[in-house]
């Protein structure tokens, strides 16, 4: 799988660059600020400026908005009063807060369990090549590469209570029509669509993880009389643990920040409101929040940001441990 290799390297590029950098010209010298560093700064200047203007600055603005009371009026004039953590306390006290946290947890956990489980089963299925396996694996990427507005709209139509194909199919077995997108069921429905979206990602990462497990291990164990289930439990699972950890960690971060699939299907109404869609609706006065609440939205956004930061540290820590 030569074609997969460059990507597999990029997975660990964050810390891997450190080790590879040792072979780079000049890196073996003790670290000091020499001509190479000036050149490096020159090449990096656009990126540094870019990160400052387009990442750091918006994030600072976001955090600052969560500490100032912004309303529609003060948003325009720009002189919102500083109120410290008042808005945080208010958001925590809002009646939607804890239900939204719970729904977010359900959305993330259920999505991850199924995406990972199905992705792993498929990766094992595709582990050995068979006729057409390459083409089929390629086709499995389609949900991941489609614009989300396309898949979300299609799911919305498939879940139409009267004419949707899902209810027609269930009707064959005598199941009554399900109101997929109503307030009660919407969390389940967006989770189903999100699982479908996430399977390709899990499949690809786990598949490339499986390719790195030496085949002779399986052969040796088979000769010793181990069956397929035993092989899976005693070889596949333990050796796949590092890759699984990274997959689940990244899956967690990506699922937590999902807005579009939910928003397009239900506008975050009913039980499908998560922290991310809640922030979106408050920031732009759509869906569940008819009023624009910049500061409250920034509070929720900042919470998500902090979780992302923590996960970034965990990610580095996991990678460091695996490199040893």
């Amino acid at each position: 799988m030569g074609s997969v290799a460059p990507g597999a390297m990029a997975v660990s590029a964050g810390t891997g660059a450190r080790t590879r950098g040792d072979t780079a010209s000049g890196a073996r010298r003790p670290r000091r600020f020499g001509p190479s560093s000036w050149a490096a700064l020159g090449f990096l200047a656009p990126l540094l400026a870019y990160l400052l203007v387009l990442y750091v600055y918006p994030l600072v603005v976001n955090v600052s908005m969560s500490l100032h009371r912004f309303t529609r009026a003060t948003f325009v004039t720009g002189d919102a009063p500083f109120v410290g953590f008042d808005i945080y306390r208010e958001v925590f006290a809002m009646p939607q807060f804890w239900p939204t946290v719970r729904q977010t947890a359900v959305f993330v956990v259920v999505s991850l369990v199924f995406q990972y489980g199905i992705g792993l089963a498929l990766a094992v299925f595709f582990r050995r090549n068979f006729p057409l396996s390459g083409v089929l694996r390629g086709l499995f990427l389609v949900p991941w590469l489609l614009p989300i507005i396309v898949s979300a709209t299609t799911w919305q139509w498939m879940m139409d209570p009267d004419s949707g194909i899902l209810n027609r199919f269930l009707g064959l077995f005598g199941v009554d029509p399900v109101w997929w997108l109503n307030a009660h069921n919407s969390l389940m429905s967006v989770t189903i669509a999100n699982i479908w979206l996430g399977i390709p990602f899990n499949l690809v990462i786990l598949y490339s993880g499986l390719q790195n497990i030496p085949t002779d291990l399986y052969e040796a164990a088979s000769i010793d009389g181990a069956g397929p289930w035993r092989l899976f439990r005693s070889i596949t699972m333990p050796l796949l643990r590092p890759v699984s950890a990274i997959t689940l960690l990244l899956g967690f971060v990506y699922t937590l920040k999902v807005v579009d699939i939910i928003w397009i299907m239900t506008m975050g109404t009913g039980s499908s409101q998560t922290l991310a869609t809640w922030a979106y609706s408050m920031a732009f006065g759509k869906g569940a929040s008819a009023v624009i609440r910049y500061s409250e939205a920034s509070v929720v956004g900042t919470i998500l940001l902090v979780i992302a930061l923590v996960m970034g540290f965990v990610y580095i820590a996991v990678q460091r441990r695996q490199e040893r």
């Binding site: 090449f43 139509w157 937590l256």
Partner: protein, 276 residues
């Protein structure tokens, strides 16, 4: 590796199951195409194949959505150029030169990809309204590029670290400056990663909904195709035929990517451990 000829029956049996699973997975895609070809009156019957296939919906869509498609192409290309311009030189520096604070920067790039887009768009919204660049194409290109730049830097860094040292040293001995080395040796050798980066930057910009729906709501026809489709949903007219036809057209870049560039995608998706 066991030769397939020793177990041909088992292999074909796997192919059959594989086909079935793929069909199941791709059913929503099939359904989208199916509805887009079904005459208006028959859509609610939910036939499994379009009995009297029609291109009427596409005709309607091409009338209304062409400007949005054009805008999306411009935004996509702009994002590709910006991403390459920022990421390629940084990849060279990070992989080949002594960078003070490399670890901090690597960490920043990883975290940058974890930042929820909603947080970014909140910040952008305030900055853009102050600078008065809401509802503009360049504003959206800037925002869309943030989806791709960290990924692109990491991909270039990983790839350029693999370029043989001798080549670069030879160039230096010949008196080439670092800029010259980068331009005449590193970049041509990194063509494949540049293609991968370009493809993904285009696809992500093309697919972006969140930035478009927050930073470019009032841009009229200078809005991307994702907003064109969203208008259909918003208008509540339940015109599923044209809606699905638009969805099919919006999927064209995905299809091209799959057909033309599958090996690049394989590389990118695995690197996609950094992207959802």
């Amino acid at each position: 590796m066991r030769p397939t000829s020793s177990a041909p029956r088992r292999a074909w049996w796997k192919t059959a199951i594989g086909l079935l699973l793929t069909a199941l997975m791709l059913f929503p895609v099939y359904w989208m195409v199916n509805v887009s070809l079904t005459p208006r009156a028959a859509i609610r019957d939910g036939g499994l194949v379009p009995r009297n296939p029609t291109l009427d919906h596409y005709a309607v869509v091409l009338q209304h959505q062409l400007p949005y498609l054009g805008t999306s192409v411009i935004i996509g290309l702009g994002t590709v150029l910006l991403t390459l311009a920022i990421a390629a030189p940084s990849g060279y520096a990070l992989s080949r030169l002594v960078v003070p604070g490399r670890r901090v920067l690597s960490f920043a790039l990883i975290v940058a990809q974890m930042v929820p887009a909603i947080v970014m768009s909140l910040g952008f919204y305030q900055i853009y309204s102050r600078l008065d660049i809401l509802d503009t194409v360049p504003g959206l290109i800037l925002a869309d590029s943030t989806i791709a730049v960290p990924f692109a830097v990491m991909l270039f860094t990983a790839f350029m670290a693999g370029i043989p040292n001798e080549l670069l040293q030879a160039a230096q001995i010949d008196g080439a400056s670092r800029w010259r080395t980068f331009r005449s040796i590193v970049m041509p050798m990194s063509r494949n990663s540049a293609v991968t980066v370009g493809l993904f930057a285009f696809l992500w910009a093309w697919s972006d909904f969140l930035f478009a729906s927050t930073l470019n709501r009032g841009g009229g026809r200078w809005r991307p195709i994702t907003m064109g489709i969203y208008d259909y949903i918003g208008s509540q007219n339940q015109e599923w035929g044209p809606m699905m036809a638009t969805a099919v057209l919006a999927s064209v870049p995905t299809a091209i990517l799959l057909v033309v560039a599958q090996r690049y995608i394989a590389a990118g998706v695995t690197a996609g451990a950094v992207k959802d």
